[in-house]
Amino acid sequence: MVHICTIVPISLTVGANRIVPAVAIPHPLGDPSRTLEEEKVIRRKLVEKALRALQTEVSDQTVFAE
């Protein structure tokens, strides 16, 4: 499992092992200040990062910041 979330410290506290930081609380995988097309690019990048995290061996809690 990979956790895409904005408040990384909470994710660390509750024990997620693969964490991908997101955009903002009310829109973790989008940015309403951009166009819908631009937002989808942001979303795609986050999901790609999440899939990379899933394919990465980890031995402890890991934040995939970049």
Binding site: M1, C5, G30, L51
Partner: protein, 349 residues
């Protein structure tokens, strides 16, 4: 008047036998004290009398919980008890569970106070800490010298209907019961004093302990993404328009399971968020911002992975009790595992 105490112990402490007898000893009542009951009787200091001892094998209890509990209650009731004292069970798991279950049943069905004793990691503690007083003991029977006086003292307080203090003062494991009371200093003053102590490196005691979260070992990496089935789960409250299962906006008691097999993307026409506590405007307008169905569907078509799982699971992570979340997680995990899902993307707001 002398209070009437009934003591519950297992086959080992009754001197009948160890593990080899655990499954054979059916509930029985003996008059007066047996085994550790003698020490207990001494500590009750003439104010209460151990009128009977109920004995049951730990294995028998574990395998016949309903019948054993019913029989024990019947024996207990025949003694006209004012209180039930069980164990102490130290770190014996089945014994602790039996002590907790018997105390719980006695309190609920006979309306009498109950006291038991266990090591803090005994599985019986988490199961029954709210339903009885569990005195904190050592992890083995050598701790009986400390355990019995504490249990007896607490039992006498309960019998005399005296005010029972906090767990750490009285020696029992905290029950998760809140009692309101007035303090001279306001919360702000107490918090500032606590902070000052923390800054000076002095010991302080929190008034609101945080829950302890368990840890799991990370799962191995997904080796073959091209053949993987990916599932989407969210605590961001995304659900079909109108929230058909009425998932609560906060303190959720349930999760939803919804089909997305025919969806290329979510939209404001078909989906919304049930989540309270954050501005739902952005999630309602474009639900893919919380549950990225659109992007995952694209990637599925491109063959990045094999399949986007047909359903998504959703709940609201807003003041949700840890116990509920744990149950949701366990149930959802079972379902996904059964359906051969390779990995999960969990999104949170």
């Amino acid at each position: 008047m002398t209070f009437r105490v009934v003591h519950y112990i297992n086959q080992f402490f009754a001197g009948i036998g160890g593990e080899e007898k655990a499954g054979e000893v059916l509930p029985e009542l003996r008059q007066g004290v047996v085994g550790p009951g003698a020490a207990l009787a001494a500590e009750l200091k003439g104010q209460a009398e151990v009128v009977g001892t109920i004995i049951c094998g730990d294995g028998y209890f574990a395998e016949h919980m309903e019948e054993a509990t019913a029989k024990i209650l019947e024996l207990l009731n025949s003694c006209k008890p004012d209180i039930l004292i069980a164990g102490p069970a130290f770190n014996a798991g089945r014994y602790g569970t039996a002590c907790g279950a018997v105390c719980d049943a006695a309190a609920k069905q006979l309306g009498i106070p109950t006291v038991t004793g266990m090591y803090k990691e005994n599985p019986g503690v988490d199961m029954y800490r709210k339903n009885t007083f569990i005195v904190s003991t050592a992890d083995n029977a050598r701790g009986i010298k400390e355990a019995v006086p504490t249990m007896a003292k607490l039992a006498l307080k309960l019998l005399k209907k005296e005010t029972v203090g906090l767990g750490p003062e009285e020696g029992y494991l905290e029950r998760g019961v809140r009692r309101n009371y007035f303090l001279e200093e306001t919360g702000a003053q107490r918090a500032a004093a606590m902070l000052a102590k923390k800054l000076r490196g002095e010991p302080f005691v929190t008034e609101y302990p945080m829950p302890v979260f368990d840890r799991v070992d990370p799962n191995p990496a997904v080796k073959d993404l091209k053949n993987a089935t990916i599932a989407l789960v969210t605590s961001g409250g995304i659900c079909p328009k109108g929230n058909p299962d009425h998932i609560e906006a906060s303190s959720a008691t349930k999760y939803g399971e919804y089909d997305i097999s025919s969806f290329a993307a979510l939209s404001e026409a078909d989906s919304e968020t049930a989540h309270g506590g954050y501005d739902p405007t952005y999630a309602n307008k474009e639900p893919n911002r919380v549950l990225p169905v659109d992007v995952l569907r694209d990637m599925e078509k491109e063959g990045v992975f094999k399949k986007l799982y047909d359903k998504y699971y959703t709940t609201v992570g807003n003041g949700t009790p840890v116990a509920n979340a744990k149950r949701f997680g366990a149930e959802i995990g079972q379902k996904l595992k059964k359906d051969g899902v390779s990995a999960v993307i969990l999104t949170s707001t």
